[in-house]
Symmetry: C2
Subunit: 567 residues, 2 copies
Amino acid sequence: MLLSKLVSERTKEMPADAQIRSHALLVRAGYIKLVANGIWTLSCPAKRICSKIEKIIREEMDAIGGQEVSFPVVMPKELWEESGRYAAIGEEMVRFEDRCGRPMVLGMTHEEAAVHLCKNWVSSYQQLPFMIYQIQTKFRDEARSRGGLIRVREFVMKDAYSFHADKEDLEAYYDKVYEAYNRIFKRIGMKDFVAVKSDSGMMGGNVAHEYMLLTEAGEDTIAICADCGYKANIEVAESVREPIGDEISEDIAEVYTADKTEIAELCDYLKIRPLRVIKAVSYNIKGSDQTVLVFIRGDLEVNEAKLKKIIKKDIAPSNLQDSKELVAGNIGPIGLRLNNAIIIYDKSLQNCNNMYCGANKPEYHLKGVDVQRDMQITAFYDVAKVKEGESCPVCGKALSLRNGIEVGNIFQLGDKYTKSMNMAVLDSEGKAFNPIMGCYGIGIGRALASVAEESNDEYGLIWPMSIAPWHVYLCPLRIDNPEIKQKADELYNQMTKAGIEVLYDDRDISPGVKFSDCDLMGIPLRLVISPKTLANNQTEIQSRDRRHKLNPNTEDTIRVIQELIKE
Amino acid sequence: MLLSKLVSERTKEMPADAQIRSHALLVRAGYIKLVANGIWTLSCPAKRICSKIEKIIREEMDAIGGQEVSFPVVMPKELWEESGRYAAIGEEMVRFEDRCGRPMVLGMTHEEAAVHLCKNWVSSYQQLPFMIYQIQTKFRDEARSRGGLIRVREFVMKDAYSFHADKEDLEAYYDKVYEAYNRIFKRIGMKDFVAVKSDSGMMGGNVAHEYMLLTEAGEDTIAICADCGYKANIEVAESVREPIGDEISEDIAEVYTADKTEIAELCDYLKIRPLRVIKAVSYNIKGSDQTVLVFIRGDLEVNEAKLKKIIKKDIAPSNLQDSKELVAGNIGPIGLRLNNAIIIYDKSLQNCNNMYCGANKPEYHLKGVDVQRDMQITAFYDVAKVKEGESCPVCGKALSLRNGIEVGNIFQLGDKYTKSMNMAVLDSEGKAFNPIMGCYGIGIGRALASVAEESNDEYGLIWPMSIAPWHVYLCPLRIDNPEIKQKADELYNQMTKAGIEVLYDDRDISPGVKFSDCDLMGIPLRLVISPKTLANNQTEIQSRDRRHKLNPNTEDTIRVIQELIKE
């Protein structure tokens, strides 16, 4: 490829809205161009990277028996009604009517389409297990797309669906995908990634893992135990907390606390630590006026993902200013009178004594509360966010929290879709059953951006060889010199013939611009042909990561490059 | 691939709505499954064929300097307003509002996106010419999708856009694409295809060619001169017609024609041939009450595509029953009183004499009409449909008409998009100009279906080796015999290792079912392992097209297959 013809532009100008490095660098290097909020065009080098990522994914999916298929982007409403998700999914799903007035949706995931394809065509247990996958454009109308290709509205995704006769078979296959994913991320050159337990969210099912690239720019948080290897998304992460309290439980008593209703000011006023307080946090069930009241230790935050999973309903924070039953800022679990409410007690309160809590009347709290003695609690739930330094639920060592970008996910779906969509298969005795499913996703553009986020320096991007848009940046200096031009042309043709992918900077411009463009674009190897080195019958090869700098003879150049590519 | 695990189904049952062979066979062989009107899921074998077609297209596009990019499926309204097509395109373009109420469209073609990408990034004539292309899903809300994958609503298309400094450069590149397209269709195994001149329709521009697969199932009509090679879509095809008439012009006179208003009954009544009549055909400009009246020889039909191009407006047939100015069935060009109408005279009338036409009053026609003597016509236009057997406009020999499926198209667009969207580039003197564009499309699914339409027999599909989903259908008979199973497994592994693509029919069913499934699916080579042949240390290879039937020794089998694949 001749750089002079490449539709692309390199600039020093920082995009105004770029908050993370991959976004800024991909725009500055001319890899992506914004078309609308969360919608991008990929220029040739970005498309080349995506194709290489897709090829690696295909190889790994095929290696575990995957069949590539192609589902439609546009689907009829009916398909999504069968599974119940037409109603369950909100504004992030695009809906429109076709010219005949039939309601359609844009696919954001393809469980329904997968079951539709397999239904009727798969009728016997002997056809199980199998896995189908596609690499296809999806649209999810994100409320806040951001970070270049990290969180977009339109994206290409590899989505795979496996079908099984029983849970054991699904679990065995899930493990295979787990390993295949590790290989994929490794092969595309991702370094600091981990697989963590996660919430299965709108997909349904129970066991799920997310693959996270650990990076400051990530908007997910992961709890990690360096000691035993425990890893979990903060949405499902657990930790062990010792009960708070003293040897002897004091008597319960009211204390005057004036207008101190916030935890911080209350603790200041009473000269106690927040973990001595039983905090009340209230929500409303979405679309209803039912209250959800959570009691939790004062130093902890409610993890809404955990809470939703327990009450199995969507929630929104509630405003208690107008409540007739609750005294905002003085709510406590003792003497509370509340109709039509769900009350949840967090595990952090279990066995605590000498605690403080609201007295359910203005300007007063209770002290000396012993949770076991004073409250009739039948069940405690884990609804607290894990904090840095808390104890690992497996080994008890300190947990640390890291930011991460979700680069892939795998789910054990169960029979949610096969049951609702009536996909039945006969077992060996002729009895019909619903196969159980797994589903497995990787976003191609996000994978590209994640590698970019991890691999860069002050000068630009640094692509791993396996997904680099080109292997070599051929960089003749003084191309106006016919000898230089001839040698560069010759090497370009030879390398191309040898299967080496070359971006040939054929522009008659200064070495400085050429070098900085090469660095910004992140091509792994830079091959310089200059009057100086050519006078010694040499070329100059430098690797983008600065690990190699060589001056081979011109006739050895291609061999050296081939070795560097293999390495 | 094990056939037992392939998500697919083969059936003898004809799909009720299938009117063409490729539709019926692709459904019957389990290649495609309908999701909604004009929207299909492709199963693994169909996806494999598509991938091979795409690979061939990529190779040919790259060979003429193409850069693969990726444009979005969902685009903002503004982009299509810039070019004027948001208003110009009708219901076939899907429009919706995103969650923030911003109007969006689904891409049905990507001229706007291409100019958007190149604008600003391409600023100098030195960057021209270049070509960018993508292979991407598109949605066109067809009023009547039909024919399986032939006319669909959602489809994957290779669309390419080239940019040039001047017309000569565009023409030179257009010729290169023309040749590349010939190579593509040949390589994917299409046999009876031709490139024909076409109308550029909604794309704008003037020079355009369509690649047509000649087949009865085609819904396009092409005029072809077997002698000189003239070929054109009926929408733009021309022919030469001699003027109708006699040596001496008779005097004009009224004749009583009773209630005979249709050409056929009129001719019957008057004992004349239709070509002696000047026929009137009326239309309305769409969205207005202006009449368009065409006078044409009685034996010819109006070609509405030609007519629209001349009047540069959209038209609809008009109903004259309520007209106060026109006497339906007796309209003639002489003595006609008509306000606010466009009147078009077809070339077929030029220099005719002793013609008949309506007398503009009920029950009467005129005879003895001499077009030159009696009518004041300043311009004749070619708005007639070419008929089988008419004279070729180039060499005068007889034209024949053939049906065809449009499998690709190429257009010289000019500056329609670069001008309306303000893409300016500086020439060598620093003066800004709008580059001119070409655009070039091939539908992947339609290409697959077209090959299927051309390559089949009474037993099923016959895929060309170049795009076959698998090269070999491995067909052990009596797989319950351990020796057979072992040999089949062995050959499967050896072939797979040798890069041969094998569909392994590992089912324990009758030879009849295996053979008919193999024929229906159209896999090029069938390799049978049976107790009978294995006893002689032989296998049996038969090609799907029945040209080869061989019994090599087992140890020669793979070599023989490799040779057959190469051939």
